[in-house]
C-alpha cells in the first residue's frame, strides 16, 4: 500500500501531460527520427456514393443534358468536361496543375450496390470481401520499412477500415479533444499513474489536444483537415479520413453543394496547412464506393450506380487533366443500361500513386496491396 499522498507531494509530482512522456510510444525519441520517405499521401473516403457525373460533368456528351435536366453549370475544364460549381474554389489548383480527375472508374464491386459492402470493398482493396481483415493502406505500410507510430494517421470519428491491419496506425479525432479543467487533468494523471498503458494514452491525448493549428471553431471536416495538415508537417506520411453525405437520392443539388463544399474546404485547408514546400510533395486522392445512376430519378436525385469519378489533388500531382477511358452515355454504353460504365479500376490510379510516392514495386502492389489488380499502363499521375 503506497503512503498516503499529501497535497504538496501530489502537486510536485504532476504537471500537465506530466512526467511520463518518455513512456509514450508516440513521443519516444525513435519517432523523431526522419521518416523513411518524404512524400505525403492523403486518402479521403467519400462515403455514400459520389455522383461522378454531377461532379465532373461531361457537358460535351450529347446525351448529358437529357440525363441531367437539373445540371448546375460550372467552370469548363477541357471543353468536354466541366466542374460542378461547388468545386469552383478549386479552379486555382486546376490552373496550376494541382488538381485532376479520373473518370469512369469503380471498385470490382458489381450489381448489389450496397453502401456497406461497397465501402468495405473499397477499403479492403480486394476483389471479394471473403476472409479479408485489413485495408489496402495498411498493407501498403506493411511493404515499407521504418514505419513508426505516427507514420500513418486515421483521423475522424468513424472507423477507417482502409488503414486497419497489423501495421501501426495512430488515430485521433479533433472532437476527442480533452476539454477538462487543469485540476481534473492533474487528478486523472494521478489515478492513472500506476497503469502505464492508460497513463501513456492520456499523456498522448493531452498532447494531441494541443496540436498547433487545430481550430477550436469550425466545422468538423475543417478541424480534421487542419489536424491532418499539422501531422503531415511532422512525421506523418500517410493519412486518411472520410467525408460523408454523398448518398443523394433526392433533390441532390442541395446535398451535393454541401458535400462538395466540404471536399473543397478540406483540400484547401490541407494545402494551406502543410505549407508550400510540403504541398509540392503531397498527393491527395478522394474515392467513393460507387457512382450513381446516369439518369436523374423522379425525385431529383440519383440512385446507387457503378462507374464514378475520383479526385486527385496536391502539388505532387500532374493535374489539369481528366483521365480515364470515357465510355459514353448512350443508353447502350451504360452499365446495365443505367449506370456509367466503369472502364477502369479505381485501385489502379491509387496503386500508381503509391508506386511513385513511396517507391513500391509493381509486383507488391498487384499481389499484396491490391491482390489481383492489373495496374495497366502508367498514367503518369505524378510530376
Amino acid at each position: 500500500m503506497p503512503a498516503p499522498l499529501s497535497r504538496r507531494a501530489f502537486l510536485a509530482r504532476s504537471t500537465i501531460a506530466g512526467c511520463s512522456l518518455a513512456a509514450s510510444p508516440l513521443v519516444t525519441p525513435v519517432s523523431f527520427a526522419a521518416a523513411p520517405w518524404e512524400t505525403r499521401l492523403v486518402v479521403i473516403i467519400l462515403r455514400g456514393g459520389m455522383d461522378g457525373l454531377a461532379v465532373v460533368q461531361p457537358h460535351g456528351a450529347p446525351e448529358y443534358a437529357g440525363l441531367r435536366p437539373d445540371r448546375q453549370a460550372g467552370p469548363d475544364l477541357d471543353g468536354f468536361f466541366a466542374l460542378h460549381p461547388a468545386l469552383a474554389p478549386l479552379m486555382g489548383l486546376w490552373a496550376r496543375g494541382d488538381l485532376g480527375f479520373v473518370h469512369a472508374v469503380s471498385t470490382p464491386y458489381r450489381d448489389k450496390r450496397s453502401h456497406f459492402d461497397g465501402q468495405d470493398l473499397l477499403e479492403a482493396g480486394t476483389v471479394t470481401l471473403e476472409g479479408v481483415r485489413d485495408g489496402w493502406l495498411n498493407r501498403m505500410l506493411g511493404q515499407m520499412t521504418g514505419v513508426q507510430a505516427r507514420t500513418a494517421f486515421a483521423v475522424g470519428r468513424g472507423e477507417m477500415k482502409v488503414l486497419a491491419g497489423p501495421a501501426p496506425v495512430a488515430d485521433w479525432t479533433p472532437d476527442a479533444k480533452l476539454t477538462i479543467s487543469p485540476q481534473a487533468m492533474r487528478l486523472a494523471e494521478l489515478v492513472m499513474q500506476d497503469d502505464p498503458a492508460f497513463h501513456a494514452a492520456l499523456s498522448e491525448a493531452a498532447m494531441l489536444s494541443q496540436t498547433r493549428g487545430t481550430r477550436t471553431k469550425g466545422k468538423p471536416h475543417q478541424k480534421i483537415a487542419a489536424f491532418v495538415a499539422e501531422q503531415l508537417r511532422g512525421d506523418t506520411r500517410v493519412a486518411s479520413f472520410s467525408i460523408n453525405g454523398w448518398d443523394t437520392h433526392r433533390a441532390q443539388q442541395r446535398a451535393l453543394n454541401g458535400a462538395l463544399g466540404r471536399l473543397s474546404d478540406a483540400i484547401l485547408t490541407l494545402r494551406d496547412g502543410v505549407g508550400a514546400a510540403i504541398w509540392e510533395r503531397t498527393a491527395i486522392v478522394a474515392m467513393t464506393e460507387f457512382g450513381r445512376t446516369a439518369r436523374l430519378n423522379g425525385t431529383g436525385g440519383t440512385d446507387h450506380g457503378t462507374g464514378g469519378a475520383m479526385v486527385l489533388a496536391g502539388g505532387a500531382i500532374r493535374g489539369g487533366r481528366v483521365l480515364g477511358d470515357w465510355p459514353g452515355l448512350d443508353e447502350a454504353d451504360l452499365y446495365g443500361r443505367r449506370d456509367l460504365m466503369p472502364t477502369g479500376d479505381v485501385r489502379a490510379p491509387a496503386a500508381w500513386l503509391m508506386r511513385g510516392l513511396a517507391g513500391l514495386e509493381r509486383s507488391a502492389l498487384e499481389r499484396v496491396v491490391f491482390p489481383g489488380l492489373d495496374m495497366g499502363r502508367d498514367p503518369g499521375l505524378l510530376l
Binding site: 498516503p4 456497406f116 459492402d117 479479408v132 477538462i180 486523472a188 497503469d195 492508460f198 491525448a205
Partner: protein, 457 residues
Amino acid sequence: MPFAPQLAAIRFGCGLSPVLTPPSDAVGLLDGLRAPDSVAERFPIAGFADYDRQLAEVARIRLRARKTGARDTDRPRIVEIGKGLAAEHRGWFVNTLLRWSWTEAPLRERLALFWADHFTARGKVMLMASAGFPYVEDAIRPNLPGRFADLLIAAVTHPLMLHFLDQSGSIGPNSAAAGRVKRMRGLNENLAREVLELHTLGVGGPYGQADVTQLAELFTGLTYRYGAGFRFRKNLAEPGAETVMGARYGGTSALAPIHAALRDLAAHPATAQHIARKLAVHFVADTPDPALVAHVQARYLATDGDLMAVYGALIEHPAAWGSEAGNVKPPLDFIASACRALAVRPEALQGLSRKQVQHHLLRPLALMGQPLMRPNGPDGWPEDDAAWVTPQAVSARLRWALSAPGVLCTDLPDPRDFVDRALGERATQPVRFAAGAAESRSDAIGLVLAAPGFQRR
C-alpha cells in the same frame, strides 16, 4: 487464488453494485444462469419475429410498387418504419444498460455480449440496422446455458446472420432456381467460410478451401426474406451430397443435414480449443495461461460442448483468479458497469430523450471505438487491451466519466463512499485522494470511474 466474491463480480460479472451483493461462490455465480431470466422480463427486448412483422409491411409496399411500376411508392411510410425501429433500438440499448445495472445473474449479461460477439451479425441496410438486439435476444440469450451446438445452429441460421453474410443470395449452381432465373448468380461462400474460420474450428483449424466450398453448397437453401422470416428453400439447394471435414451430408435437400454438419463441427476438437481459448482471453487475459485453456478445452470435449460445464471449468481454475488488474473493459462494458456502480434508476435512463441518448451514450461509445453493434467485420470487436487504450479512446472515456453520470443520475453519491462502492478492494490511495481533491462532485465520480482499477476487470 480461489473464488473471491468481489473479483468474481468484476471479472465474471457486471461490476460492483451498491445494492446487489456479489456472488458468494462459484455455484451462486453459475446458478444465476439456471434461474429464470427475470431481468429480461423487467427490461424487455423484442425478439426478431416482432421486428420482422414490421418489415412485412415494407415488403408489401415494395411488392405493390413493383407490380404497378411506380417508383418510390409510399417511401415516406418506409422511412417512418425505419425511424420507428431505430427508436426501439435505442430503447433496447437502454434496457441493456439497465439489465447490467440491476441483474442478479450478471454472468448472463457478460455471456450474452461474449457470444453475440463470437457470432457477430449486423444489418447491412437501413431496415435491418436495428435488428441486432432482437437477434441476440432470440438466438444467443436463451442458448447460453445449453450446448454449443444448439447455440451455433440458432446463430448461424438466424435471419440476421443469413442477411449479414449473404447466405440468402447463395444459389446452388445446379439447383432448380439456377436453371430458371438467370440473374441468380450462384454460390456465395461467405457464411460457410466464417462458420469454419470464426464460429467453429478457428482460423488455424484443419480445414481447406474444399471444405469451405462444400459447406457453402450444403448451406444453399437457407434464406431470409424481409417480413417472411427464415425459410429453407429447396429450389435453391444444390442437389447431391456434400463432404465437409471428411463426413458426407445430404443427398436430400433439407435442413436436417445442415444441422448435422453444424453439430459435427461443434464436436470437433479444434472447435473445443477455439472456444476455450476465446473464453479465457475474453474473461481472463489477452494471453491466458495455457493450462487454463487446456482445462476448459478438456471439459468441452468431455461434455460434448455442455456450456454450463465449460463455464464451470473456466471459473474453477486457479489461473482465472490472478489478482492483476486484468483485461480492459470494452467501451460498452465500461459504460454499463458504471451504470451498475451508480445504481442508475430505470425511469431516469428510460426517460432520456433521443438527443440525450445520442449525446451521452451513443456518441461517446463511438468515440471510445465501439459504435453500438457496428463492429468492423464478422470477426467482431478486438479482445486485445491495446485496441481500447488509444489516446482518442482514453480521452473519450475520461470525458464521459466526468460528464455523463450527472445526467444519468439525478443524485450523485458522495464520492468518498463511491470509491469503495465502485472499486471495492481495488480502491487505491491516489483514487481516494483524487475523489477528495476534485473540484466538483461530478469530477470526483468521474475520476473514480476513470481509475484503471475500474476500467479493467
